[in-house]
Subunit: 229 residues, 2 copies
């Protein structure tokens, strides 16, 4: 996690450095608004801690300018405790407001809240798997063969998705049945075979000689990553 701290009092900066464990936190510090804005732009932090009483530009102005091009979470730390100061900062785009003196625990908890939220806003990866002519878009729940969409029933999709998520590894019948049908169906191998037949019919060019899902006789099935023979 990367922090930018914009704060002119060295004591507070020291306090923050001490509060945030260095193995988790990379901290960049600025003593005035101008340097602070530059740091935010350069370092692309996950969160910004901003003092209002800065020597050059007022903290509110720093916030205003930052909000023109960034929506990184900002927590304001200020000695000003009047209601109108809080309202101005919060309406000016701050995500939270802490009045000095504040406690270490509350600060870190509020930092966690802000980080938790910004993580939720930005979904991590786009999970999509592609091998040979087969493409599986897990997010959209869609499967393509050579660019053509293939429609799968709920069970077919679940089976294929589970195999693909464990691509390269052998998945036993029991594992598949327990995962897709539920633990009570571990012995319904016949049902599984029928569904596998339907899946291959739909996505294998030659269902009799499968390229994507190999049957491991006596054990289970394996999703092939590189096109095997």
């Amino acid at each position: 996690m990367r922090y930018v701290v914009i704060e002119d009092e060295a004591a507070i900066r020291r306090f923050l450095r001490a509060s945030l464990p260095p193995e988790e936190a990379e901290i960049f510090e600025a003593e005035n608004g101008k340097d602070g804005l530059r740091l935010v732009a350069q370092k692309n932090p996950d969160i910004v801690l901003l003092d209002l009483g800065l020597p050059d530009i007022d903290g509110l102005e720093v916030l205003r300018r930052m909000r023109e091009w960034s929506d990184k979470p900002v927590i304001v730390l200020s000695a000003r405790g009047r209601e109108q100061d809080k309202v101005a900062a919060l309406d000016g785009g701050a995500d939270d407001y802490l009045t000095k003196p504040f406690s270490f625990g509350e600060l870190t908890a509020r930092v966690r809240v802000a980080l938790r939220r910004s993580l939720r806003t930005a979904p991590p990866t786009v999970p999509t798997l592609e091998t040979g002519g087969l493409k599986i878009d897990f997010e959209a729940r869609q499967v393509f063969v050579n660019g053509q969409e293939i429609r799968l029933t709920p069970l077919e999709y679940k089976v294929l998705a589970f195999l693909a998520r464990h691509a390269g590894k052998v998945i036993t019948h029991k594992q598949l049945l327990a995962e897709v049908w539920g633990p009570a169906y571990e012995d319904s191998t016949h049902t599984l075979r029928v569904h596998m037949g339907a899946i291959r019919q739909k996505l294998e060019p030659e269902p009799a000689r499968p390229r994507y899902i190999r049957t491991e006789t006596g054990v289970g099935y394996r999703f092939l990553l590189e096109e095997g023979v």
Copy 2:
């Protein structure tokens, strides 16, 4: 904007009612945790104000249970001012924490912050979406088919808009019901089907062979970006 207030002191509830202008705020009140949870599920509010000292369940427990199925913003209002109380609530899923007595201005400012943020969390706002002969103007809340405006009821529009904002992806019945009707209605699939029928009747040229919204049997619905078959 819809508020749910979970607070046993009548004085505070009165204060909140007075603080939030009725023309902008629809307020639902509960005096204990049990009713509060039910209200959140039923009314599908934009924000929840939660007291920690409730007569039946502890506020922290209410928060914990709510977070199992909802990520609506929650602002905790509490007489407990100790650091450990704040940390527990914030780490328990609260979005903000205000110690009583709090000022009217700070409360409303923090509410605005939470609302601003949850709006931003919502899928990227595309002012208008167009595919085939269908055009959806999200800002004006208007829908056109081949240039002709289609009148949709509030629920119909919400369903269509949610699907369209996640165009291409499968939306499960539960997701759709939780989002449009509220978490308490996750199992009213039948109602959803009837509304879907009405929507298709209005905007599909051939309602029996839909071009814009495909049903994914056993899973949910999908808004089609390119015109399917």
